[in-house]
Symmetry: C2
Subunit: 257 residues, 2 copies
DNA sequence: TAGTGGTCTAGACCACCTC
DNA sequence: AGGTGGTCTAGACCACTAC
C-alpha cells in the first residue's frame, strides 16, 4: 500500500463511516471546520476530500446547511410492459404508472416543428436536418424533476396524422391515434446508455454533481418504417429500468426456498 | 443572467470550445499556467474549472501530460439476443461478440463459494447470507478493462450441477450444462441502473472521475425458480445496451425515405 | 532539466440559512 | 449575529513525463 494523499484519507475515512451507518442517509456530516480540526488538515484539503464524496454521489452539499448523506429512492420502470402492444392502456401510461405507485405526477408539455438532430435522423431513417415534429415532456414526481422525454416524428408521418402537431395532449395517446390511421407500431428498438449530464440537463433535472443520467432511446417501427424516436433522459439516482424476456409466468416472487 | 463564479466561466468557455471542435477528441488543452494567464485567474481557480470538466466526463488529466479531451468509442451489446433462448450459441458469447467486432477479448476468471449478498439473495429467493457459488469474470477488450460480471448460483442448484464449482471454464457454457441436467432457463428478468463507481469498481475498471457505471442485473428462471443472478458492471463511457421488442423482421436499416 | 499536473497551506471575503 | 459552505488568491513543494 502506497501512502494516500491526505484529502483521500479524509474521503476514505468518511466513506467508511457512512457505509458503516455512523451517518445514515439524510443525516448531516460534521462541518468543514470540525473535520479540519479532526484530520489536522487545512480547510481546503478537507474540502477536496468532501468534493470527492460529492462527485461519487454519496453526499450533497448546500450553502449554509452543510453536507448531507444522500438517500436513494428508486422508481422502477418496466420497459417491456410500458406501452406494450399486448397490454394496451388508456391515456398516458406515465401518469397511471406514477399514480399506481401512490405518487403525484406532473408534467409540462410542448410541441414544435424542428430539424431532426443527427442522432434522431439516423434512427428515423430520414435526411439529417429534415423537419420533424418534436413532442417534449418534462416530468415530475411529487414536484421533484424526474425525467425529460423528447419524441420525434418524421415529416412524412405528419401528413398522415396532422394531429401530431397539435399543441395539447392527444386524448387517446399518440400510439393509439396513429393505430387508428392504420400506422400500427409492431416493434421497438431500445438503446440504453449512461453519462454525466450536460449543463442543460443538470438544470432541467436539478441534478447536482455526482449523479449520472440514464438515457433510453426507443425507436418504434411499423413494418419496415421507423415512425418515432423517443429519447428519455432519467435522473440516474432516482430511476431503474427493467425488461422481462421469455416466459416468466410461473415465477414466484415471495417464498424463499 | 446572474454573474457566474470565475471557475465556472473558465469551464464554460473551455466546454464551448471543445463542443465547437477547437479541441477535438484526443487533443490536449492548454496547460494550467497558460489558462491562468488567459483568464487572469489563479492556478487554483483554473484547476477548479478544469475539475468541473473532468467530473462531467469531458476531459481527463494525467500528471506530466496535461488535460486531454476524451474520445468516446462505444460498444453495443444486444441484450435480447445475448444468450437468447432461440439463438443458441456455442462457447462463450462474450468472446464471440467481441471477436466478431474485430476486437481482441481477454478475461480473467475465478470461482468461489460465498454468502449471497442481500441484493442477490432477494433475487434468487434464498435466505440472505446462505451459501452461493460465485463465478466472477473480469473482462477486457484490447487490454482495456471493459466490464466485470458476477454470477451467483443458489446452493440447491449446486447439488444438481456440481460442475458449477469447477474453477475452470465449463466448455459448453453453464447455461447449456444446466439444460443438460434438465434445468432449462425459460425466461429472464433484467434490471438496468446507473451510478458513480465505488472506489473498488473504479480500480477494477480503471475509471477516472466523471465516468459512471452501467449496472445490468439479469435473473434467470427455470419455471418458477430463480436459478442464477448475474450482475454485470460496465464502464459507462464504453458501453451501450439494446433490446429488441416485438416484430422488427421487416425493419430496413439503410435507405432514407 | 524543464514543464506538466498533484497536493497542501493560510488566510481573505462572500452568500446563504437559522436563530 | 453566528455558523455554514462557496469562491479566490499566492505561494510552496512534490511526482511524473518528456527530451
Amino acid at each position: 500500500m502506497s501512502k494516500q494523499p491526505k484529502y483521500r484519507q479524509v474521503a476514505d475515512a468518511l466513506r467508511r463511516e457512512i457505509d458503516n451507518g455512523d451517518y445514515p442517509p439524510g443525516s448531516r456530516l460534521p462541518s468543514e471546520s470540525e473535520l479540519s480540526a479532526r484530520f489536522s488538515a487545512s480547510r481546503n484539503t478537507v474540502r477536496a476530500g468532501l468534493n470527492l464524496l460529492v462527485t461519487e454521489g454519496l453526499v450533497s452539499s448546500s450553502q449554509g446547511l452543510g453536507y448531507e448523506v444522500r438517500k436513494h429512492e428508486v422508481f422502477e420502470l418496466n420497459a417491456s410492459r410500458f406501452e406494450n402492444l399486448s397490454f394496451p392502456q388508456s391515456g398516458d401510461s406515465y401518469s397511471t404508472d406514477v399514480t399506481n405507485a401512490g405518487r403525484r405526477p406532473r408534467q409540462t408539455f410542448r410541441v414544435e416543428m424542428t430539424p431532426a438532430p443527427g442522432y434522431v435522423a439516423e434512427r428515423l431513417n430520414v435526411e439529417p436536418g429534415s423537419t420533424s415534429v418534436l413532442r417534449f415532456c418534462h416530468r415530475f414526481v411529487d414536484d421533484v424533476p424526474w425525467s425529460t422525454q423528447a419524441t420525434h416524428y418524421p415529416e412524412w408521418l405528419v401528413a398522415k396524422g396532422p394531429r401530431l402537431t397539435e399543441p395539447g395532449d392527444i386524448e387517446e395517446g399518440t400510439t393509439r391515434y396513429l393505430a387508428s390511421l392504420g400506422v400500427e407500431q409492431v416493434g421497438y428498438f431500445d438503446e440504453i446508455a449512461t453519462r454525466m449530464p450536460t449543463p442543460d440537463e443538470a438544470r432541467l433535472l436539478e441534478i447536482g454533481a455526482g449523479v449520472p443520467v440514464l438515457l433510453w432511446t426507443r425507436v418504434g417501427y411499423s413494418g419496415e418504417q421507423a415512425i418515432r424516436c423517443t429519447v428519455t433522459t432519467f435522473r440516474g439516482d432516482l430511476n431503474r429500468m427493467n425488461y422481462e424476456i421469455g416466459d416468466l409466468s410461473a415465477r414466484s416472487e415471495n417464498e424463499p426456498q
